[in-house]
């Protein structure tokens, strides 16, 4: 039972982290609370699932879905987020404008998908890779992938942000975008690259979600909601904080489901998350963005 709770909790944590990573990374770097990240990932996953259904080879379908997610992420950043943010001279007002604009997109995406994708519910149907028995508990290959990928993502982003010149430039832009421009950093390109990375992670999270659970028209909204819950609890913009909250969320959901039944898992989890916010209103790892 103990290992079952731990392993199931880890795989859930991996998926929640992947879904919330897009929100956290986008906010952490640009300060843009982009609510459309969930639908961007979900749309890519829908495209992949549809193409697989129509007989396309899985790698091709994954590439097509990934391409759609990246293009959508870049277009929304370039033609929605940036103009909205700059229209009021940036700052807190700019962020509120971005929230309004991307909230509109969040509502618009399911309606658009309904007209393009013939089915309202899809299963990803990736190739069967079987499962591995760990301490007597069978864990699916994609659940293992979610765990491993989440850990790798955390490790790679922390190393890249702290050890590479480009990563340090990203950190610099987060803290002082004007000075970034004054020392020759192409701040706009960094924002676009950030949007693309956030979209890739949202897409991978959505594909795994679609494989382990199901995708429906509201999945994008669900991803954004989960993403923001995790991101806010972790401390908006803190990747490490998101990781810790994802772990907590995954473990709590898993433990509640095994110990007192699946009906109570979201009630208990929500109560615990409210408790965290009451104790640490700025999140588990509060971020420092400005002087």
């Amino acid at each position: 039972m103990f290992w079952a709770i731990i392993l199931k909790g880890l795989s859930l944590a991996g998926i929640y982290f992947l879904i919330s990573f897009g929100v956290t990374f986008h906010y952490g770097v640009g300060g843009f609370p982009n609510l459309a990240i969930g639908p961007i990932g979900a749309t890519g996953a829908f495209v992949t699932a549809t193409f697989i259904r129509q007989g396309m080879a899985v790698p091709g379908a994954l590439a097509a879905g990934l391409g759609v997610a990246i293009i959508l992420g870049i277009l929304i950043q370039r033609y929605v987020v940036e103009p909205l943010y700059n229209s009021v001279g940036g700052g807190e007002r700019g962020r509120i404008f971005v929230i309004y604009g991307t909230f509109g997109l969040l509502l618009l995406f399911p309606a658009i998908l309904l007209n393009i994708i013939p089915s309202t519910m899809l299963r990803m149907r990736l190739p069967r890779l079987g499962s591995v028995e760990i301490m007597g508990f069978p864990l699916g290959a994609y659940e293992i992938f979610a765990i491993v990928f989440a850990f790798c993502l955390l490790l790679i982003t922390q190393l890249a942000l702290n050890r590479t010149l480009y990563g340090n430039r990203v950190r610099a832009v987060t803290q002082n975008p004007l000075l970034g421009r004054l020392i020759g950093i192409d701040v706009r390109r960094i924002y676009l690259v950030t949007a693309a990375i956030a979209s890739v992670c949202a897409f991978i999270g959505a594909v795994l979600w679609g494989e382990i659970f199901n995708l429906d028209l509201g999945s994008g909204v669900t991803f954004t909601l989960y993403g923001f819950v995790v991101a806010v609890m972790g401390g908006l913009g803190s990747i490490y904080g998101s990781f810790l909250v994802s772990l907590f969320l995954g473990m709590t959901l898993s433990a509640t489901s095994f110990l007192i039944g699946g009906v109570f898992e979201y009630i208990v989890t929500t109560l615990l998350l409210i408790a965290i916010l009451l104790i640490k209103p700025m999140g588990i790892v509060p971020t420092r963005r400005e002087l």
């Binding site: 610099a172 020392i183 020759g184 950093i185 701040v187 420092r288 002087l291």
Partner: protein, 235 residues
């Protein structure tokens, strides 16, 4: 006569849609320290922002060694001109070494060999300390370091003496003079403090978004009217 490092002619510029600068003419020659002095709200920071492509230029030209640069992106202009802004002149939650690394844009090995650490020993001594934990003088040294490490042709300093105590003011003035000769650098420095006249080769007095007077540093130092009207204090 050689081509000036910076030559601004008939510049009009707006800030958030409001016309702030009118018909500005200004020149910085090779190796000169030029001061732009004037009270708060005179348009000094807007002038620097216009040169750097941050604020919109509505008329006139800005030339760097004879080539027009108005209309270029800030990122492009910053390859040739460094602006050390009045506030937030560092990345607060990065160490001194990380700030300088990002500004230099080269390998860490090249950073270690940079002469900036000889010019400002405090930057070497505190290299692992976050910028937000530094004192006012140390922060100003880091801001100058970020401006100098990219070895541009022109350095713009926006009120580098603001908020510093008299001892630190003297140190920074001495530092500006020293780096000008060490780096063979042309410097344009804006200030409210008359102390800047001590090192300025030439001075422009700006008020209400217009250049009111120009002359060499010595002449303006001795001009009673400048001291009273534009600087509001005695030297």
């Amino acid at each position: 006569m050689s081509v000036p490092v910076l030559e601004v002619k008939g510049l009009n510029a707006t800030r958030t849609g409001v016309l702030v600068l009118r018909n500005i003419d200004l020149r910085v020659e090779e190796g000169e320290i030029v001061a732009l002095i004037g009270p708060n709200g005179a348009g000094k920071s807007t002038f620097f922002g216009s040169v750097m492509g941050i604020h919109r230029i509505t008329a006139g030209t800005v030339e760097l060694r004879g080539s027009q640069i108005q209309g270029l992106k800030t990122e492009t202009i910053s390859r040739s001109i460094s602006l050390v802004p009045q506030e937030a002149a560092a990345f607060p939650f990065m160490t001194i070494a990380e700030n300088l690394w990002v500004a230099k844009g080269a390998s860490k090995k090249e950073l270690k060999q940079d002469p900036i650490f000889e010019s400002f020993p405090v930057l070497l001594e505190k290299q692992d300390q976050e910028a937000c934990t530094l004192s006012g003088g140390q922060r100003q040294a880091l801001a100058l370091g970020i401006g100098l490490i990219r070895k541009t042709e022109l350095l713009l300093l926006d009120e580098p003496l603001l908020g510093l105590d008299p001892i630190m003011v003297s140190r920074i003035i001495e530092t500006i003079k020293r780096v000008s000769s060490e780096y063979s650098l042309s410097i344009l420095v804006s200030e409210q403090s008359p102390r800047i006249l001590e090192i300025a080769d030439r001075v422009y007095v700006i008020e209400g978004g217009e250049i009111r007077m120009t002359g060499d540093g010595k002449m303006l130092r001795e001009d009673e009217r400048i001291r009273k009207v534009y600087l509001g204090m005695t030297l």
